[in-house]
């Protein structure tokens, strides 16, 4: 649960927007398809998750710790079938409850954004192997070229003779930004293990800090007010906190059914803005009790 002060910090004063939406005087902004990837590794003390802090200059969620991720790029759909191994787009479409074309874009965006924002690349020479040493200047040049959109993921894979390893991603969650916000995302949360031999690198740009954290410690830091986490990040970190290892987490991710969460902001009986998830009895349309 997020308290009223926490909501204001995240989205500003939205009371007037809530009233305008409720009166039908304003339409919600269209939510853009986006992918975000929860990178996991086995650390010295157990499961660790990669988070980056969005720079104070960012227009969306400045200062919040997030997983690598971002909007689908129009060229994420360019990926040829031959450049893809693992569950095909048709199977991802069932998992993600999307069209096949959107599933292809979401998975490609997940791989691209992970590379852009962590330096970790879920591709390999074939269906069994993953690229290992990405420390060279040539890989950094490729990362920067993806970031400034001068090259697409499809072009990068073709030039290097590599394939996207869709089997290394697992669907974990699906969050849609509340209607009142002006920048809205329809975001699929994927899970991936840090591949053997790869390391995260200092990515700069949108992030002013990166860290591998124990999920339970991040939740505790957020509850103490020492770490700003958006509700989907906080919720998913709580879910991950009970797992002892990456292997255990992936075993559950393979069987988990993803539930769409579309939180709503309402003005409650005390005149305060309240953030509701669908399991809240005050959520419109939820069953009593």
């Amino acid at each position: 649960m997020v308290d009223a002060a926490g909501i204001e910090k995240l989205v500003g004063n939205v009371a007037e927007t809530i009233r305008r939406l409720e009166r039908g005087e304003q339409r919600p902004t269209v939510a853009r398809n986006a992918s975000t990837v929860i990178l996991a590794r086995d650390g010295e003390h157990g499961l660790e998750i990669y988070l980056l802090r969005r720079a104070a200059s960012m227009s969306f969620a400045a200062g919040a710790f997030v997983y690598p991720g971002g909007s689908v790029d129009e060229r994420d759909c360019d990926l040829a079938d031959g450049a893809w191994v693992g569950p095909p787009p048709a199977q991802w479409a069932r998992t993600l409850s999307s069209s096949e074309a959107v599933a292809r874009e979401l998975v490609c965006a997940a791989v691209r954004e992970t590379f852009e924002e962590s330096g970790v690349l879920l591709v390999g020479p074939d269906a069994e192997r993953v690229v290992e040493d990405l420390s060279g200047a040539d890989w950094e040049a490729d990362r920067l070229a993806l970031l400034d959109r001068s090259v697409s993921m499809a072009e990068l894979l073709t030039r290097r003779g590599l394939v996207l390893r869709a089997d290394l991603l697992f669907a974990w969650a699906h969050w849609i930004t509340p209607d009142v916000e002006t920048r809205r995302f329809d975001t699929r949360f994927f899970l991936a293990a840090l591949p053997d031999g790869q390391r995260t690198r200092n990515v700069g740009g949108e992030a002013d800090q990166v860290a591998w954290v124990r999920p339970g410690e991040a939740v505790a830091a957020s509850e103490r007010g020492e770490m700003l986490l958006m509700p989907p990040t906080l919720t998913t970190l709580r879910e991950l906190a009970g797992f002892a290892s990456v292997a255990n987490l992936l075993a559950v991710a393979r069987t988990r059914d993803v539930v769409t969460v579309h939180p709503k902001l309402i003005i409650d009986d005390n005149g305060k803005v309240a953030f509701l998830t669908p399991d809240d009895p005050r959520y419109p349309g939820s069953l009593p009790g």
Binding site: L249, T255, V259
Partner: protein, 155 residues
């Protein structure tokens, strides 16, 4: 491969090998037209994938997936007793035990992870009677345990 196992593959799942019993019992017993399984834990490749109480160490949003793993293990136990899951004509009863934090009362939603899987696999023959029970502790500190009773074609 059997029709039921094809359906599992469509769902992106596969039947695990039957879990080795922890003590003096067998994974499943067939008696007449019914197969009764022993309680199944969320064990994958021999490893309990989560431990602790639901509502405390284990997040309630994760627990349905654990119940689903238990149900897959229960189907493996059924197969060990009858040879082929296509013999199953009805899921009769599901009992789900949830190791619960003191204040936790969401056991039905947790056990839905098992019930929904059986519905997805067996369609209308997968609807069943059920108990979802909160308990103080389960073997090995498992968060969830599921047992099932199925009816099979009389041979």
């Amino acid at each position: 491969m059997s029709r039921v196992e094809d359906r599992l593959l469509e769902l992106g799942l596969s039947l695990p090998p039957v879990a080795i019993p922890l003590a003096a019992y067998v994974p499943a017993v067939r008696h007449g037209g019914l197969v009764w399984t022993s309680g199944q834990l969320p064990i994958v490749d021999g490893v309990l994938v989560a431990t602790g109480k639901v509502g405390a160490e284990v997040d309630p949003d994760v627990a349905p997936a654990l119940a689903k793993i238990c149900a897959l293990n229960a189907l493996a136990a059924v197969r060990s007793a009858v040879g082929d899951l296509d013999e199953v004509i009805r899921v009769v009863k599901v009992v789900g035990y949830v190791a619960s934090a003191r204040e936790f009362t969401g056991q039905p939603a947790v056990v839905n992870g098992a019930s929904n899987l059986l519905g997805d696999v067996f369609s209308s023959a997968g609807t069943h009677a059920r108990s979802a029970v909160g308990v103080a502790a389960l073997p090995l500190d498992a968060p969830v345990e599921v047992e099932i009773v199925v009816a099979v074609a009389e041979s």
